[in-house]
Amino acid sequence: MSNIYKAFEGRKAFIPFITCGDPDLETTAGIVRAAVRAGASLIELGIPFSDPTAEGEVIQAANIRALSAGTTTDKIFGLVRDLRRDVKIPMVFMTYANVVYSYGADDFLSNCSKTGIDGLILPDLPFEEKGEFIDACHKYGVDLISLIAPTSKYRISMIAQEAEGFIYLVSSLGVTGVRSEISTDLESIVKIIRENTDIKCAIGFGISTPEQARKMASISDGAIVGSAIIKIIERYGSKAPDHVYEYVKSMCDALEGTAP
């Protein structure tokens, strides 16, 4: 088991998603440190992929910017090594199966373990295909994080029973991106998850405002925000860390009042 559980100890977790190398790795390091200072509980680091099929336009564009800047998996391991000199909170990677597969699952997860990555989120690796990487994850003590979607229905209990790290509950249909309203009956999904596991559950996809974060965290254990942060980075570029700090602070403050 990794350190991910610590992100949920005694409070609701705020989890920012940041695409590594957008606009460059130095800025990414500054953004991660700003998010940590602002009170983030866990950092989700995106390794860019050329064809991210689960992402909306905002994160697709971030992937392209990062790859155009010459970002590679090896350079990202270097970033994590640097961040781990002072960043103590859990960090997980979010990427696509081919990035891990082409690197070699054993080498990839060995490097995760050496540099200090706690978990791995692969949106194109459903329950049935976990066998691809689970042995390497367990060998190096990296949690393979499961996603549950509004369409999961009878699959929820099966996924929850084998979940590790935390459960990533997808708030709504579609790809990542800001939404004005989230209408899925998430309470009943969370209820089934709770009946099947003690692993914590955070909600992501479509969350951008403090009100949405508070609402999502109140029915689960935390909120994950990606596109809204990527938009700030897209707008401010290398000046983004200060702006991300303000944004993450406002989101963490919003969760402060929510009962753990």
Binding site: S50, V100, P123, E128, K130
Partner: protein, 398 residues
Amino acid sequence: MKDNRSRGRFGQHGGQYIPETLMNAVIELEKAYDHYRKDPEFNRELTELFNNYAGRPSRLYFAKKMTEDLGGAKIYLKREDLNHTGAHKINNVLGQALLAKKMGKTRLIAETGAGQHGVATATAAALFGMECVVFMGEEDTKRQALNVYRMKLLGADVIPVKSGTATLKDAVSEAMREWTRRIDDTHYCLGSVMGPHPFPTIVRDFQAVISREIKSQMLEAEGRLPDVVLACVGGGSNAIGTFYDFINDDSVRLIGCEAAGRGVDTYETAATIATGKLGIFHGMKSYFCQDEYGQIAPVYSISAGLDYPGIGPEHAYLHDIGRAEYVPVTDEEAVCAFEYLAKTEGIIPAIESAHAVAHAIKIAPKMKPDELMVITISGRGDKDCAAIARYRGEDINE
């Protein structure tokens, strides 16, 4: 960890590498398909559509002039170009649209490269009274403007995809994204033997009519099986259709012709078996053109329909076990074959199919006159005339 959880494997290839949001949709599709493929009424309706709407069986034509000109194998052409809508794509689309209708779906979405699959899907949607949205790379909407108009005429919405290389792979990605947005009433009518299980199996089964017909037509014409069958391969649907009924006939050589673009030693190629490596993309494990970090390569071919960085998992498997051969064919070779078939037999093949013709031109002269060759002409070439004219330096208006 139990590996047997993974479904739809062809050796090490295949599987279901898709977002959780889509898992129940593909599971329901598999269940429905398992039910209807054994249902006599479904099969009766599909055969009726094949024969009376699509114009099947398609002809197996003895290409006498080509045979004499090349001076080797006796060459037959499987005329999928004569199907309604002008390509083999209609076989799969009629099957999937009928299945979708039985499942209660009212909306079809599809990706398209050259536009043939998009046109076929728009056609079936018009016939069945279903809504239709086709995703097409913006680059391809330019090189296949005629097909864009045909789809619109048939009542479909055509969405130009601007992301990535704005070609077929990006159209697939966008169709997958659209499916995660709207699942309940929507069937993703995937156009090739690719993507997550059960698509490679479903599409293969609906295309297998090609090899079943070749077999019986050849037995009737020559009293024996062919010695070699050739087809072009992008994702590989007309090729698997051409191969499938011959896989257990060891005497029949199966040759898939990939698009080498400007050559397999350049970056401007789409020859997956020649230049790709094992990976996971678009829902399947198979071979993909990619860089050392697994980033999918921006592939290139003059043919919008073969301009795809991967290959269907069953082809990857047939390659692994050595049952089928996959050979690269360049733009220049394909264009020469396009012109050759037009002048020699009076048949203008799709530029995709011309890749198979090109390889046949290379190997037929080395074969004996009593050896039998079948080339699948997967589509007709009207759509390509303007692009080939441009390739030859002649600017014509479509």
